[in-house]
């Protein structure tokens, strides 16, 4: 079993080994690709996008002035966090209970005004005037390390 290759080892060697390395490199791309896919797959998605652990993060507490409200976009159910005192926050849904328009915070009156049919809610969610019949259902807001956090 003498292979014609063995007869001329010197001449073919250099080219063969280069080609061999090229082929090995080409084929090893499969392994590299699989590895890259695997690592990308394993990377945990950002905290906001993880399955509902029941927590909505609402930004810094100290950056919110007393009597100010911050609008938090949360998909189809946005909300407001209002700082009512040095140490307390309230969180309410930003959707009017009448026909689901998005409420606006009125800083001077400290009320949520609905631009659609003039509904108004106080900062605890009670209906002050207008067509809404149901009050806003408050969320449980806590302060954790200067971050306002809501547990759903």
């Amino acid at each position: 079993m003498s292979s014609p290759l063995n007869a001329e080892p010197e001449i073919g060697m250099g080219r063969r080994s280069a080609l061999g390395w090229l082929v090995k490199g080409f084929l090893s791309l499969w392994a590299i690709g699989a590895g890259a896919v695997g690592i990308a797959f394993l990377k945990a998605p950002e905290k906001e996008k993880r399955p509902a652990e029941g927590v909505i993060r609402c930004g810094s507490f100290s950056a919110l002035g007393i009597g100010e409200a911050r609008f938090i976009r949360h998909g189809a159910e946005p909300l407001y966090v209002i700082r009512v005192s040095e140490t307390q926050v309230l969180a309410l849904p930003a959707i009017c209970t009448h026909l689901r328009c998005v409420l606006k915070w009125n800083q001077t009156r400290q009320t949520f005004d609905c631009p659609c049919h003039n509904g108004a809610f106080d900062k605890n969610g009670n209906v002050l005037s207008g067509p809404p019949t149901r009050p806003l259902a408050p969320y449980r807001a806590e302060i954790q390390a200067d971050e306002v956090v809501i547990r759903t």
């Binding site: 084929l27 976009r73 998909g75 049919h117 207008g130």
Partner: protein
Amino acid sequence: MISALLLAAALTTSSPNQCLLCHPDVRVLFDRSRHHAEEVTCTACHGGNAQAITVEGAHSGSFRGVPKRRDIPALCATCHSNVEKMRPYNLPTDQYALYQTSRHGQLLAKGDERVAVCIDCHGSHEILPPEDPRSSTYVRNIPATCGKCHGDAKLMAAYGLQGNPATEFAAGVHGTLLLEKGNLAAPDCTRCHGAHGATPPGVGDVDKICGQCHATTRTYFLQGPHKAAMDKAGLPECAACHDRHDNRPADVGMLDKVCLNCHGADSAQVKLSQQMKTSYSRASEEIDQAHALVQRAAAIPLYVEDYQARLEEARTALLESLPVMHSLNLASVESLTGRGRGIAREVESELNGKLQGRRWLKVGLLVFWFYLLITLALLLRFRRKAVAESSR
């Protein structure tokens, strides 16, 4: 014999109202009433002697019998306008004063006894407070109560009143909300017309009444030229376009019809209305398009909660533009519809970008297959070599 039985009955009952022995049909009604619960006796309205068990004894003294219709308001007022008597119940005492200013009261003073007096709305013996759902003055029962007379076409024709407000109201938005859906925030007859001081609103006062709830719309209406023009023309402001009792849900389609009631089809005003309508409709279409795109993206799925929230804001802006239209200020309307459109366009372009990006997946697939086929070729070559080796 009968008197003996009555005597026996009288001695065994402890009722202060012996009248009800002879008038059992009234007793059935009266026992349910608020007056009975507060121990108001028959004599308060009818006079006479409530302790007597004979007809002569009972019908003696201050006995009035059935009061005459024109005397009834004053009769009720003897208690209900007395501040000290009403204070423990915290009841108002201005009903009689209001009544005298009302159309009913004015006509009664002129001698017309067909108009409503207290008992027509409140009942006579079976009077229940308005908070009681069985009461004829309970907010959801009021349209029927008013409708007893105001739905009688023959009776109303004598006063020059047309239509049946009760049925019209029931067909409208307010009626549906109040009567079918039980939404107590919806107005009944008394909310717009007053209860005891019931008067139709004056032509220039309609906006004040509708504006009690529709305050935003009223604000914009007052800014526009319609208020002065309609008052001068004797048109009932809001009711001129939105009907009096059978108010339909308002939408931009109205702009095609109601403006023509006063303005010519080629007039600048109708042109303006069409511009407002177009502005709104275009924005609405754009938002719907964006919404459809969001649905498509959600089916992949892509992260769409943010886009849904922004589209809600866009719809809110659009909804806000409807009251603003009453000011006839095209610029303000367009700023709101423009905002809605802008948001919808942003959402669409961002989503389209994301969806286009997914086209690269197909390109990636081709690259993958290219790579795979080369690998396959290499493997076949190695295989052939192995075959050649093995056949030696």
